[in-house]
């Protein structure tokens, strides 16, 4: 008790001496309320150059298979911002489920970001392995969203369902990508480039809006022709080696930052 009051007295003196001298300016990292700002991420779902419209439009992948989409959901987690000097800010409890059929989920607002100039945006498509095996979760990770495998514990990171006349079997497309254990780990972390390398300026009065184009074709069209997915041979995956192919494809280019409103 006595120690504590001595400490309080001393720190009081320190504050007092500061206010008399000019050390306030030099020590602004000690400022009890550092400047923070916000940033929005907006996810715009497209298929090539077309907008994604569920159950209506027919699209064609690189393998030449026509298809429609009835459901498109994915997790974005562990969002990070990095400054040129390597300083990193990570959103706490960073788990977001984005759904094509729920517009409100397509905008994620990051809050309480220390003001600064950030040169890199990083996030995970999917959910880190720790949360895959943790106990019952809430929010975006609530198993009631239908993005959790009950018989083989783990989240479905990306879920696309639809139809294609060329798909084997009944013509259904079921791409449930997930799995966090080697050799079929599908957790992918990406840092899509900022347009023209222009950094993100975050200030109390400066909240950038980052518009991402999320291209559904990124799941099926790979970086090389060999990695393209042809529905005649693959139209159903629920984890495992085939899911790894899809994850490799989408890590390579499903997410692109289209433009940033600097505000």
């Amino acid at each position: 008790m006595k120690l504590l009051s001595t400490a309080l007295l001393l720190s009081g003196l320190a504050v007092a001496s500061c206010s008399f001298s000019s050390c306030q300016d030099k020590n602004n990292t000690d400022d009890p309320t550092p400047e923070v700002g916000e940033m929005d991420l907006e996810f715009d779902h497209v298929v090539g150059s077309q907008a994604l419209v569920l159950d209506a439009a027919t699209y064609t992948n690189a393998a030449g298979n026509p298809f429609t989409v009835s459901l498109f959901n994915y997790y974005v987690s562990n969002i990070k911002l990095t400054k040129a000097d390597g300083t990193e800010w990570a959103e706490p409890e960073s788990y977001h489920l984005v759904k094509e059929n729920e517009a409100a989920t397509q905008k994620v607002t990051l809050k309480q970001i220390p003001a600064g100039t950030y040169t890199k945006l990083t996030f995970t498509i999917g959910v880190d392995s720790a949360r895959n095996v943790a106990g019952a979760q809430t929010g975006a990770l609530d198993p009631s969203h239908g993005m959790f495998w009950t018989w083989n514990t783990g989240y479905i990171f990306t879920k696309l369902e639809g139809r294609s006349a060329q798909a084997s079997g009944n013509g259904g497309l079921t791409f449930h990508v997930g799995g966090f254990r080697a050799p079929n780990n599908t957790i992918r972390t990406v840092s899509p480039a900022l347009p023209n390398g222009t950094p993100l300026y975050i200030r109390a009065d400066h909240a950038p809006e980052v518009h991402l184009k999320v291209n559904v074709l990124g799941m099926f069209n790979g970086p090389t022709a060999a990695s393209n997915i042809d529905f005649r041979t693959l139209s159903n995956t629920m984890g495992g080696a085939q899911s790894v192919k899809v994850a490799n494809n989408y890590a390579a280019g499903m997410f692109r930052i289209d433009h940033v409103h600097t505000n």
């Binding site: 895959n132 106990g135 809430t138 609530d142 198993p143 009950t150 083989n152 514990t153 254990r181």
Partner: protein
């Protein structure tokens, strides 16, 4: 309360005996002093738990809620099947006499319902280890079409519309609609409480009074340590690994662990089950193929089938398969396996369906 015990206590102190007599009247349960929640103490002869106490600290109201849910058939689609239908206390929460499970509309599953005991120590659940955490476990039977065939949303809607549940959940988790997390954590209060550590073997192992320990039991223990404990290890009687104990040559019906890992080297491997209360958990093996323990011992002695993933412990240096067990050794093993029966667990009124 047992009369002899009462008389002994009475010799110790008349006053105390008087108290006990009143406490053990018809109002037995209500008058009992606040008992700890089952499973809140960790047995001294067990390794450290996986689902640690701090993760979901045992709490009377939460435990009672979990117990209510475990025995409530409304959790199934048509209100016909509860967790307790397939997991019966007298069978150490296995499904007595059912080789494979029977779910709603008598739909048949493909696997035998295992005993539920000492789940706090399990690194993975199911015969193939597919579920990684005790808390999320109930999602598997709840949504399995051949078990309870219900959706999480509909279960929550039923609970939220119930006359009693919302108040009971609010008492434990605070006001607001019942969430999936609350449902799962309440159920885990009950499943994690199922600690069986009071068999005659346990008391013997801990050096407590265990009643007479016969020479047959002692010889059986010696055979067990030599032949079985390589897999049925520690006082949990499982090392939690996945092994092929030679039941089949091919695994088209059920590939076991390979179902989860997709790896050929895991084909035909299943989680080593605990042997606690094994005298009460018949039928045996992942598909319930054996109905008696002598059949199981006969399997290990001369029924082990070759396959690429057969466990090395079941291959003898001379090339023979299995674990050679003489008739007297089998009799001793049977005597020993009986000592793993934990009557206080099988009949603990706190674990029975609430009245």
């Amino acid at each position: 309360m047992n009369l002899r015990l009462l008389q002994r206590r009475a010799r110790l102190s008349w006053g105390l005996a008087g108290l006990l007599v009143t406490a053990c009247g018809p109002a037995d349960e209500a008058a009992r002093p606040a008992e700890t929640v089952p499973g809140s103490t960790l047995p001294a002869n067990f390794p450290p738990p996986v689902y640690v106490l701090d993760q979901n600290p045992p709490d009377r109201a939460a435990f009672e809620l979990g117990r209510q849910l475990f025995y409530d058939p409304r959790l199934s689609r048509d209100g016909s099947v509860s967790c307790g239908s397939c997991h019966q206390q007298f069978a150490a929460f296995a499904h007595a006499d059912h080789p494979v499970s029977h779910g709603v509309a008598s739909r048949l599953g493909t696997r035998n319902a295992p005993a539920l005991q000492n789940l706090r120590w399990s690194r993975s659940l199911l015969w193939d280890g597919g579920v990684a955490n005790l808390e999320v476990f109930p999602l598997a039977p709840l949504t399995n079409p051949v078990e309870m065939d219900e959706t999480l949303d509909r279960v929550l809607a039923k609970l939220n519309a119930d006359a009693a549940y919302p108040r009971r959940f609010a008492q434990v988790y605070g006001a607001g609609p019942i969430t999936s997390q609350q449902l799962l954590r309440a159920l885990a209060q009950f499943t994690a409480s199922l600690t069986s550590a009071n068999s005659r073997y346990d008391r013997h192992a801990r050096g407590e009074a265990s009643g007479p320990w016969s020479t047959a039991e002692q010889r059986g223990l010696t055979v067990f340590r030599a032949s079985c404990a390589g897999c049925h290890a520690t006082d949990l009687f499982t090392d939690e690994s996945f092994r092929n104990n030679g039941l089949d040559a091919t695994f088209a019906a059920d590939s076991g662990r390979a179902h989860i890992t997709g790896a050929a080297r895991d084909r035909g491997k299943f989680k080593v089950p605990s042997l606690r209360n094994v005298a009460r958990t018949a039928p045996y093996m992942h598909d319930g193929r054996f109905t008696t323990l002598p059949q199981v011992l006969a399997h290990y002695d001369h029924g082990v089938v070759a396959s690429p993933t057969l466990d090395p412990l079941l291959r003898q240096p001379d090339g023979r398969r299995g674990l050679p067990l003489t008739a007297p050794q089998q009799a001793d093993l049977l005597a020993f396996l009986q000592t793993l029966t934990d009557e206080s667990f099988l009949s603990n009124p706190q674990l029975a369906a609430p009245r």
